[in-house]
């Protein structure tokens, strides 16, 4: 900040030195003041960022009963905490200002004020009781499982989520297990129970607008409820640091109307159809069998001898699993839901669709014209270059030579063309 000497306007300079001083600008901003201002600006930015409305992972914009319960509790607890905070800091500030050292004698020292001490014990206890009762009630409500209408399993591994639907009468009836990844499709308004675990390290499942987060620990099974009021796409991401690409381990819940959900299930269980002979996709099928099927399962895929092709990721990947690609193009993200399968032009048609249209838009899947081919191609060309993963063959001693993530496959551009053509038919 540049200031001019205040005295220069009042009195004429009487000496040479004063004359110099009167015309020289002085930079009076100290480093401490500069840091304080920058901190204030940063804090303001952080506070203002909290007001963003276009925030897909905003826990303050609940979209289901479970998240709303958490939100209601948050408002109650933060209100009490805010009042307590303001009161404490006000009293503290008043005391500091009022009784600051002005050379006055030390006031009379007294010891013990039973009424005040008892009051200051009872008051916090009452405040804590006021917080504890709704908190415990909310926790118990969020752990209920007896009203479940649909059960979905999720399994975390570095760095993607597998989603499978066990056989059940719930979810409108599922007669064969459905396996997908990255995106969980549910019926809007349905009470879903997610049963989760992990295949390698601890991950955490969190769809902020639908419920709180839940750690998924290997060897244990954890449950979390989900319910979406309206059809829509609800984003989330792993919230337990899980290694190199933790930031790239995302997921979405797609809520749709019952009819749309039924159509999605039916589509997922449709029998496998081989590409027409002589097409690029048919060549892609052969390439898929030789290059991809060791890890990735495509249900119903058979080899040239008519034998079912069964992936054995347990023998090829450290986590023991790789995404099932049977209906790859029915979802619209890939590689741990990190990149869009939809191009930028088509993405808003699904992700920003009205709740009444999102189901139908999602069911259309990814078409040739809407494919985000650039990023899919980059992924197939060299996956570890696009998403950090432990795949360097030189440094896999700790994992018995097995990569954590998709390794570099040295695919040719022709093979990539073939695979993309083949994958485009997986819906």
């Amino acid at each position: 900040m540049i200031v001019r000497s205040a005295t220069s306007d009042l009195q004429p300079p009487t000496t040479k030195m004063q004359a110099v001083n009167s015309t020289t600008t002085v930079n009076s901003v100290t480093p401490r003041a500069r840091i304080a201002r920058l901190s204030a600006v940063a804090m303001l930015a952080a506070v203002v960022a909290g007001c963003a409305q276009d925030a897909p992972q905003d826990t303050w914009q609940p979209a289901g009963s479970n998240a709303r319960q958490i939100n209601d509790l948050d408002i109650w607890v933060f209100s009490i905490a805010g009042i307590v905070g303001v009161a404490v800091f006000s009293v503290l500030g008043f005391a500091v200002w009022k009784y600051r050292d002005r050379g006055q004698p030390i006031p009379e020292q007294t010891h013990g004020k039973p009424a005040l001490e008892i009051g200051l014990t009872i008051l916090p206890a009452l405040i804590l009781i006021g917080i504890a009762i709704p908190t415990v009630g909310t926790i118990m409500d969020l752990n209920k499982t007896d009203d479940t209408e649909c059960i979905i399993n999720v399994t975390g591994q570095q760095w993607w989520w597998e989603v499978d639907y066990p056989v059940q009468d719930g979810c409108g009836g599922i007669e064969e297990p459905i396996v997908t990844s990255g995106q969980m499709v549910i019926e809007a308004g349905s009470k879903v129970l997610v049963r989760g675990t992990s295949r390698d390290v601890i991950h955490s499942w969190w769809i902020p607008r639908l419920n709180g987060k839940r750690d998924m620990v290997p060897g244990r099974i954890h449950t979390v409820r989900l319910e979406a009021d309206e059809p829509g796409i609800y984003a989330g991401q792993c919230t337990e640091f899980c290694g190199l690409s933790h930031a790239n381990m995302r997921m979405e819940v797609i809520a749709m109307e019952p009819d749309d959900f039924a159509a999605w299930k039916a589509n997922q269980l449709e029998a496998y159809a081989s590409p027409d002979e002589g097409t690029l996709a048919a060549e892609g099928e052969a390439t898929f069998i030789t290059q991809c099927s060791r890890c990735h399962q495509v249900d119903g895929l058979t080899d040239s001898g008519g034998e079912l092709v069964v992936a054995r990721p347990d023998q090829n990947v450290w986590s023991g699993a790789a995404p099932n690609l049977t209906n790859f193009m029915t979802r619209n993200t890939f590689a741990g839901a990190t990149w869009n399968l939809l191009s930028n032009e088509c993405w808003p048609d699904v992700w920003e669709a009205d709740s009444s249209e999102v189901g139908a838009a999602y069911l259309e899947g990814v078409s040739d014209s809407c494919l985000n081919e650039v990023e899919l191609r980059e992924w197939l060309r060299n996956a570890p270059a696009k998403k950090p993963m432990y795949t360097d063959p030189e440094s896999l001693e700790e994992t018995d030579g097995l990569p954590r993530g998709m390794p570099y496959l040295a695919l040719s551009e022709d093979q990539i063309d073939q695979l993309i053509a083949y994958l485009l038919e997986r819906k």
């Binding site: 399993n153 060897g219 023991g320």
Partner: protein, 402 residues
């Protein structure tokens, strides 16, 4: 030319050499030959040194020599370390031709004796006063010696105690431990309340106790450990081909104690009417007739036997390949030849890859951890695979692995 002392050493060296040759021709054993040749070399070295020093003899008329010779100066005290160093060197040589553990012991002795020897030699040059030199040595060596010797002593006693515990029966180990602990506590109390007891008495008691433990431990170690029975586990049962049998194998009356995991488990129950029911974390899938288990992930499954018979739960993965069957049979064959003489009748041919619990008492439970790598759409999924069943009953439960 040769002094008296030299003649004895030279003769001993020649004798050891001859003995080595005779021993080598008659016995042909390497250890003895190496020992005798080592002795011959050591004696020859000493003989050479003695010839060079001429037994340190001086003429009686050489008065100056008598007064100024090295022998006239007060010699350093006797040292055991050169001898220990020699023992270490011999042990190293023996270890080289026998086994690595002896070699390691030799190296340890060699390093320890060498270090002690050097420290002592260094301290002896500090002054002409033996007592001062001893103090100098102790100041340097004791900070290292005491902790090391303490650790070695504790290690020996602990090892000896462990041998005693492994030699006694399971029940007697408890008695032995209680008695010993009580004894130690009583003696400690006695000494604590009688400060007038002489230090020598305390040392004697502690020394005797340590010697008793070490001696007992040595005897117990030589006699060997008690027969520790290896309990049948879900893994061994599978390899032994017991999983398909309702009777074979060992009945585990304490099976329920193996269930340490009380949550996050699947539960499969054999009901009193010999039917299999299952429970999963969270609500059971309504109307589900098959149990869906995740692939490539360990599933903790508690088998609860509510029937009134001893039963086991078996999971059938798939049929074994011919190569696998041959491999298992060969392993069994080796085991029966090298084992405790089990009869061939106890072995049944294993044709399927299965995993099972042990036989569980009525009302009992056991935890089984199951990792299924293949999906149930696998070509290896024949009619018998991907199901739980209870041998001896018709109870079975289909499993789906997506």
């Amino acid at each position: 030319m040769f002094t008296t002392g030299s003649k004895i050493l030279i003769g001993s060296s020649v004798l050891a050499t001859v003995a080595a040759i005779v021993y080598g021709i008659s016995q042909g054993e390497a250890i003895g030959i190496v020992g005798l040749i080592s002795a011959a070399i050591a004696l020859a070295l000493l003989a050479g040194f003695n010839v060079w020093a001429r037994d340190s003899n001086l003429s009686a008329t050489d008065t100056t020599g008598i007064a100024t010779s090295d022998a006239a100066i007060e010699p350093p005290g006797a040292s055991i370390w050169p001898m220990v160093f020699g023992v270490g060197a011999t042990t190293v040589l023996l270890g080289l031709v026998t086994q690595q553990s002896i070699f390691t012991i030799g190296v340890v002795i060699l390093i320890a004796a060498g270090a002690q020897w050097m420290v002592q030699a260094w301290a002896e040059s500090a002054s002409s006063d033996r007592r001062v030199n001893a103090d100098v040595r102790d100041r340097v060596a004791n900070p290292l010696e005491y902790p090391l010797l303490g650790a070695v002593a504790v290690g020996i006693i602990a090892f000896a105690f462990s041998r005693i515990m492994l030699w006694l029966s399971k029940t007697n180990t408890v008695y032995a431990f209680v008695i010993l602990a009580t004894l130690i506590a009583l003696i400690a109390f006695f000494f604590a309340f009688r400060p007038s007891v002489k230090r020598g008495a305390i040392s004697a008691v502690l020394g005797l106790g340590a010697v008793a433990i070490v001696a007992s431990g040595t005897a117990a170690g030589v006699d060997g450990e008690r027969d520790i029975h290896v309990h049948e586990t879900t893994t061994t049962a599978a390899v032994e081909g017991l999983c398909a049998s309702p009777e074979k194998g060992e009945f585990d009356e304490k099976a329920s104690q193996t269930v340490g995991t009380k949550s996050s488990t699947y539960t499969i129950t054999l009901t009193a009417s010999d039917e299999l029911e299952f429970d999963v974390p969270g609500p059971v899938e309504v109307g589900a007739v098959a149990m869906v288990l995740p692939r490539s992930n360990p599933n903790n499954i508690v088998f609860r036997n509510d029937s009134d018979e001893e039963r086991r739960l078996t999971y059938d993965f798939r049929a074994l390949t011919e190569d696998e069957i041959i491999e298992i049979e060969a392993a069994k064959e080796d085991e029966s030849h090298g084992g405790e003489g089990e009869s061939d009748e106890e072995h049944s041919t294993v044709e399927r890859f299965q995993q099972c619990t042990t036989l569980i008492e009525p009302g009992g439970a056991q935890l089984m951890t199951l990792l299924i790598a293949e999906p149930s759409i696998s070509p290896s999924n024949d009619d018998e695979a991907f199901r739980f069943f209870v041998p001896g009953t018709d109870a079975e439960l289909e499993v789906m692995v997506p």
